[in-house]
């Protein structure tokens, strides 16, 4: 889909990119990573001709990019940058519709498309379409930035540290959302980052760069398991086993949880759990919304359900759907629990992950 063949770029004396060969396959996310000044952003910008290489070839969709007018090429490739770059004088609707307008789409088609995209990124159209970038939070603005890049449904996206400017918590939410969008859309993505955890979480393949050269280009699993040289080993760090957990989401290992409804009678609950050897029970509302848990030690002595339900701190141990196992593990350690419940965006219980599930995974891949 995107190929860089022996690409060289000089800035004065300095070689920014030195004979780079890289093939990004269709539908894959390729993360470019490396220390600052390693040429990763320059590489990205040579794909949409924001930077012209001194020698070598860049192929997009089978065509040499030099044969395509830069502006027309760029309209076929979505572009997202770190500081969002939303146009401050345009509202959300106008920001998202910029590229479709450049392409001369009809008004109805643009309106329909903006509606679809706002739904995709989870922002309510009525509430957000008329807002200006200064009225958005960092996370919302970044989502709009992604929606704008997707507006004309380009086959490929270039993302230059797109989540670099938001706080760590928001960043992992945005990463999860981006992955779930990517699962649906299957775009070819080149993603520049300096955050290894992000690259491991997001990338189908990671290209580690140093001094304008490609040091290793492989799947995150392979890079973690067998770093090509000492540079990559140092870069990856000593906590490789922990990092590998970022590759798995909780949905891939979670088990069916055992739960009772909060308005069930205590006797009935006692009967149902009698010979199940459970240590705890999740408590949910009628709509499966998680509201607390019951420690089984207390259930025999209790007179009513209200007495045994613990709901303080339940919010702290809940893990979002599609969060990484690493996040689940870190939550277990910080909250001192061995099991965490998994909830979807409505707060409904969908599963649970235990420490032993995570241990099993590390042994499997270790």
């Amino acid at each position: 889909m995107i190929e860089l063949l022996n690409v060289v770029k000089r800035y004065g004396e300095k070689l920014a990119v030195d004979g780079l060969n890289l093939v990004v396959r269709e539908g894959e996310i390729c993360c470019l990573i490396g220390p600052s000044g390693c040429g990763k952003s320059t590489t990205l910008k040579m794909i949409n001709r924001m930077v012209e290489p001194d020698s070598g070839k860049v192929i997009f969709n089978g065509e040499d990019v030099r044969k395509i007018k830069p502006e027309l090429l760029r309209r076929r490739i979505g572009y997202v940058i770190q500081h969002i770059g939303l146009f401050p004088h345009m509202n959300v609707f106008q920001n998202i519709s910029v590229v479709p307008k450049l392409l001369g789409w009809s008004k109805e088609r643009i309106e329909k498309r903006v509606g679809e995209l706002l739904e995709l990124i989870g922002l309510d159209e009525a509430q957000y379409a008329n807002k200006y970038p200064s009225e958005l939070s960092g996370g919302e603005a970044q989502r709009v930035g992604v929606a704008r890049a997707l507006a004309a449904d380009p086959p490929a996206l270039l993302m230059d540290e797109p989540f670099g400017a938001v706080d760590p918590l928001m960043r992992s939410v945005l990463q999860d959302e981006f992955l779930s969008i990517q699962r649906k859309l299957k775009k070819t993505v080149v993603f520049v980052t300096h955050d290894l955890d992000e690259a491991i979480r997001i990338g189908d393949r990671i290209a580690v760069m140093k001094d304008g050269k490609l040091v290793q280009y492989d799947t995150p699993e392979a890079i973690l398991a067998s770093p090509a040289n000492s540079f990559v080993r140092d870069f990856v760090g000593s906590d490789r086993a922990l990092k590998r957990l970022s590759r798995f989401d909780v949905n891939s290992v979670m088990k069916k949880p055992f739960y009772v409804f909060c308005d069930d009678g205590i006797e009935e609950v006692r009967k149902r759990v009698k010979d199940k050897k459970l240590r705890y029970l999740w408590v949910v509302e009628k709509d499966l919304r998680l509201i607390g848990w019951i420690d089984m030690k207390n259930i025999d002595s209790a007179g009513s359900m209200e007495e045994v339900i613990t709901n303080s701190g339940i919010k702290n141990i809940c893990i979002r759907e599609y969060a990484s196992l690493r996040e689940a593990l870190s939550r277990m350690l910080s909250e001192g629990v061995k099991v965490v419940p998994i909830v979807n965006s409505n707060g409904s219980l969908v599963g649970e992950v235990s420490l032993s599930d995570i241990e099993a995974i590390t042994e499997e891949v270790g």
Binding site: N48, M50, P70, E71, L72, L73, R74, R75, R76, G78, Y79, I81, Q82, H83, I84, G85, F87, P88, H89, N91, V98, V99, L102, N130, Y132, P133, S134, E135, R148, A149, L158
Partner: protein, 255 residues
């Protein structure tokens, strides 16, 4: 809530705009009331033979003054903006220091000196005055155009190029809309300077509110000086207010 506020502001701005127009109308009526002027100036300067300039009415002088300012300001706004845009483009960037120096220099030369230098080439009257005013008032426009365009965040321009806008689209859809406020501030300064400076034109016979002033200076008649100076000062304030309300009503930046 916010939306209704936005509308209310728009409404308020329009009212302000029409108020300024109304005051402008009153100003013209005021200029026409010669007996009012006569009475007022006679009160302060009872000794003078003429307290009003006898050879032209204030309305005629206003017309001449506005034509001088109108033509020279239109030219300096047009050239100033074009020049400012040119030197902030890639191909014109080499000229940026030169243009900065030239425009600064043109403001340090007093308009009277430009008049004296220009008369031998273009003759007396209207032409040398427009030239002098043009050179004198182009600086704020160029300066502010450059400042406004340079203040557009690099990221925003980067993304505009990166999503496939042609250079002219980047300029008209992104850079100019974001620089509008600063550019308009420069235009305001420039025009107000021009209204004040245009009086100099009377020295070479270009007409305008400078005529009673010069005549008053020559004849040592302070009433005439006040007549011209007061009309000119009022005009400057009104035009500044007019442009301010115009900006608010039609170019108010959002977000």
């Amino acid at each position: 809530m916010r939306k209704s506020n936005l509308y209310r502001n728009k409404y308020k701005n329009l009212i302000q705009f029409f108020t300024v127009i109304l005051i402008f109308g009153l100003y013209i009526v005021f200029l026409k009331k010669e007996n009012l002027w006569e009475g007022m100036l006679r009160f302060f300067f009872p000794g003078e033979k003429d307290v009003l300039y006898p050879r032209a009415s204030l309305l005629t002088l206003l017309k001449e003054h506005l034509i001088l300012v109108g033509i020279s300001s239109s030219a300096s706004i047009l050239f100033g903006i074009v020049l400012g845009i040119y030197v902030t483009r890639e191909k014109g960037r080499d000229f940026l220091p030169l243009i900065n120096n030239l425009t600064s220099f043109s403001q340090t030369v007093p308009p009277v000196a430009v008049l004296a230098l220009a008369v031998p080439f273009v003759g007396f009257g209207f032409k040398p005055t427009v030239l002098a005013l043009f050179l004198y008032s182009i600086l704020p426009v160029v300066r502010n155009t450059i400042a406004g365009l340079e203040a557009v965040p690099r990221d925003v321009v980067d993304i505009a190029e990166g999503i496939g806008m042609y250079p002219y689209q980047v300029l008209f859809r992104v850079e100019l809309p974001l620089a509008t406020r600063v550019i308009i501030a420069g235009i305001r300064t420039s025009v107000v300077i021009n209204v004040g400076t245009a009086s100099v034109g009377a020295v070479v016979g270009a007409g305008g509110f400078g005529v009673p002033i010069i005549s008053g200076l020559v004849r040592d008649n302070q009433a005439l000086i006040i007549e011209g100076a007061l009309s000119s000062a009022l005009l400057a304030v009104l035009i500044d207010q007019f442009m301010g309300s115009l900006e608010k009503a039609f170019f108010s930046a959002k977000g």
